[in-house]
Amino acid sequence: MSGTRPPRGRNGPLAVCMLLLACAVLAAGGCSGGRDKVTLRVLAGPELADVRPLLKDLAHDTGVTLDIDYTATPDLTDRASYDLAWPASDRSFLLALQAARQGGARPESTTIMRSPVVVGLDADAAGRLRARAAGGRPTWADLADAAADGALRFGMPDPRRSDTGRAALVGVATAAAGTGDALRVQDVSCDRLRGFKSGQVLTGPTTADLIDAYVRRPDRADALIAHENELLALNAGGRLAHPLTIVRPEDGTVLSDFPLLLLDPDRHDAYRKVVDWLLGADAQQRLMRITWRRPAGQDLPRVRELRAPIGNALSYPDRRSVVDRLLADYGDPARGATSDHVVFLLDFSTSMRGTRIAALRSAFAGLSGADRTATGKFARFYRGERITVVRFGGEVLDERTVTVRGQRDLDALNSLVARGDFANATAVWSALDHGRAVAARSLAEDPGRPVAIVLMTDGANNAGISYAEFTARAAGQPRTPTYPVPIGEADTAALRRAARDTGGRTVAAAPSSSLSDAFKEIRGCL
């Protein structure tokens, strides 16, 4: 080797040989000889911009320079010209691959660090949330509950564009479904996050954008939903007058594992070097201190902030259609919640007296915030929602419409339901016809606002117009999705037909579930 080059000095060959030998000996440790210098093109998630301080040392120690674009979308759509990808999570990417049914195994992938998607709250909001949570340990359901009644305003990155936002959305939706396992198609057939969304006041295409917006005006929101590490970094960065309190919701969090993916198998050698370096104890320590993520391996001493257990990791759905449905229902987070208008048509015939009316009142109170189960907290009436209550017997007894702004509005509705006068007849189709008129007026007022009708009745029609007349009047009118909840002696077959004609469906109350459960089941489907 040394013979091929003319010696520059008398001791040149000796020096070169000694250095070469030293390099060979220390090959594992360093001596990044010029020969092996490689540059890899990396498509990284914007979340990963905080690894920049390590890249120089990585290049020095391994000879591999990472040329990173921090522009990855959750699906890694623009990956064609890159050697590696480094997203917050490869789940969306893998679901997209699966949906495209592309053969072959997934690309080689290595977990580099971990961080759960959690909530950072200002001290007051954290205190309020803990006060309303069982055992002082808040859940996503408590968060949704507080958002629905206006006690909590939060920021969250756009789930359509950000891995962080998407993980947050899946986490909240999984908690809302309350099944304890991964979301299935049937769990997302109804949008149970409208109450939750009504509390969203801030968003951004990335967490960094969200945080910038929050730092400019911290008074606009009480809480931020983002990766634990992003919130810890914000706290440590000195940009806030008061650090946020980190809450890891008790009903579980989605954990991101920041995998490094080998997109081009020909770059395997360099990929291995990078992965081995990143997983070394030294790099893991530095990643933890600089980025506040949790080390991938075991036994690395943790900084104080990362000693708290992350809580139970939530399962992630294995169907892209599930996630797509969530994204579509959640829509544009900058637009705020879709304020629905729900028209309740409630049967107040004498047969409702006793346990039936008690069940109805209790169901209504539950939707107004009294139901402290997790599903109840997600299903409750929320701020901005418009609700009409129509009591009927042989004719419409009374009607009241409110836009929910606070407890007073809910009290008004409940006092209507609490009235004790009952009628001797049941005019189901007249009531439904009346409900349709209310819905039509509402649509004329605000064509963008979804309207739905819930009809609760316990008897067959014995007054007012007939079913035939009802359908005749309905012809040519805009259809309002109608959800009959028949109990007792109601004419289930006719109601089912009426529901089907509008794109709604009947929901069974007794005997399989209570009236309250039936109401909760259709919330978000409306």
Binding site: R10, M18, Q98, G297, L300, A313
Partner: protein, 419 residues
């Protein structure tokens, strides 16, 4: 230990000759003085670690696709032993079934973690290939003490006795009863977790996390196990068809039966064992499908670092039991070199025991004695064989493939389509 039969590295003599040629000049410039001690120190280090093998000799880099058995080839001692033979293994990590399905281009060997994937590889290779099956290891479920105790309380697991009456590392698990709990869609709190683990709760469903069903041998083997149990302790596809025209496809019927038990977990993790052994393991998954060797290697390492067993991580040995047999398969001549070595080198096999594998030695029927001796010498509880020795009778390859594809909804394989 040092290599006696290694000739002095030629590169060391070269500079000496050069110095001599200069006829006695003693003055070296600074860069030689800097480099010289480095080189000497390095040489000493090499000699001490036994790596004083011809540093400038040709080292054969063997490209290998493997899954969990990369644990073996990543071990520094194994690497040192291989280097003595001039071999370095470059690991391309991939699920076993992925290995069997993807191109072997550029590979010298592949090392699927079990026989189903190994058979797929063999079926693809036209020529007769050399291979080695250096060790076996049972499939186990890795969990944590409070979860294991919850399963004991629920009547599906039994602790093995630990010598000295300390906390046990091992539990026997009645798979049929456990699957019933999973099927009933009970949460961990439902079966008493919040009472066993005072102060903590888990409202997640009782379920077992696996790596990807479509890609991992461990997950595929777990499927075989579940299918065997749910099919009345019989491999699917082996029943006599009483009414062939009416019965439909009995294999797919079993697949459809077990599908919900597997798919509860949603998206599968990339490498479940890595999550299990991480510090966040208990939060990520209460129960994970892993291999025994991964757990035992972890305990040995834990004992070395902390001078005690890791008593929070414990194993569930399922009944019936499923043994996996990885197979190192040569794709070309360089691969042959490695498979031959694995067959013949006693040191490589001895090291496998130290890494928790059950190694087959010729002339010995049991594969456990040496492993047990080793564990005892390291102060690690020895797992006792379950009195119920029922073994999973795996479905034939074709049936297993159909079950896997059905349960995992796996993408169609484009075999050998790499342009």
């Amino acid at each position: 230990m040092a290599d006696h039969d290694t000739a002095p590295p030629t590169t060391v003599t070269e500079p000496r000759l050069a110095t001599r040629a200069r006829g006695g000049r003693r003055r070296h410039p600074w860069h030689v003085l800097v480099a010289a001690p480095l080189a000497v120190a390095g040489l000493v280090a090499l000699t001490v670690t036994g790596n004083a093998l011809r540093p400038f000799d040709r080292i054969d880099v063997i490209d290998a696709k493997m899954a969990s058995k990369s644990d073996y080839f990543k071990d520094p001692e194994v690497q040192r032993l291989l280097l003595k033979h001039g071999i370095r293994v470059d690991i391309h990590r991939l699920g076993s079934r992925g290995i069997a399905e993807q191109s072997f281009e550029g590979m010298d060997v592949v090392f699927p973690s079990g026989q189903p994937a190994a058979k797929l590889v063999m079926a693809r290779e036209q020529r007769s290939v050399r291979s080695a099956r250096p060790f076996v290891t049972p499939l186990v479920l890795g969990t944590f003490r409070d979860y294991a105790q919850t399963l004991v309380r629920a009547g599906v697991a039994t602790p093995q006795k630990a010598p000295g009456g300390g906390p046990t590392l091992y539990y026997d698990l009645r798979m049929d009863a456990f699957l019933e709990r999973i099927e009933a869609r009970r949460t961990w709190n439902d079966i008493g977790y919040d009472q066993v683990a005072r102060g903590r709760s888990n409202s997640g469903r009782v379920l077992v996390r696996t790596s990807s069903v479509c890609e991992s041998n461990a997950a595929g083997t777990y499927l075989s196990l579940v299918a065997f149990v749910r099919n009345g302790n019989q491999a699917p596809g082996t029943q006599p068809r009483t009414r062939p025209e009416a019965a439909g496809d009995p294999v797919l019927a079993v697949a459809d039966d077990i599908k919900p038990l597997i798919n509860l977990q949603g998206m599968a993790a990339d490498e479940q064992a890595d999550s299990y052994f991480s510090d966040e393991g208990e939060n990520i998954a209460p129960v994970s499908v892993i291999y025994e060797h991964q757990y035992l290697a972890h305990q040995v390492a834990h004992q070395r670092r902390h001078h005690e067993q890791d008593t929070s991580r414990v194993l569930l040995y399922p009944t019936p039991q499923a043994l996996t047999e990885p197979e190192l398969i040569a794709i070309d001549d360089r691969g042959n070199e490695l498979t031959d070595l694995m067959e013949s080198d006693p040191e490589l096999r001895r090291r496998a025991i130290e890494l928790g594998f059950r190694v087959r030695f010729s002339g010995e029927d049991g594969t456990s004695a040496q492993l047990n001796d080793y564990l005892r010498s390291r102060g690690i509880q020895v797992p006792t064989p379950n009195p119920d020795r029922t073994k999973v009778d795996a479905p034939d390859l074709d049936s297993l493939e159909r079950i896997i594809n059905r349960v995992g909804n796996c993408p169609l394989v484009q075999k050998e389509t790499q342009e």
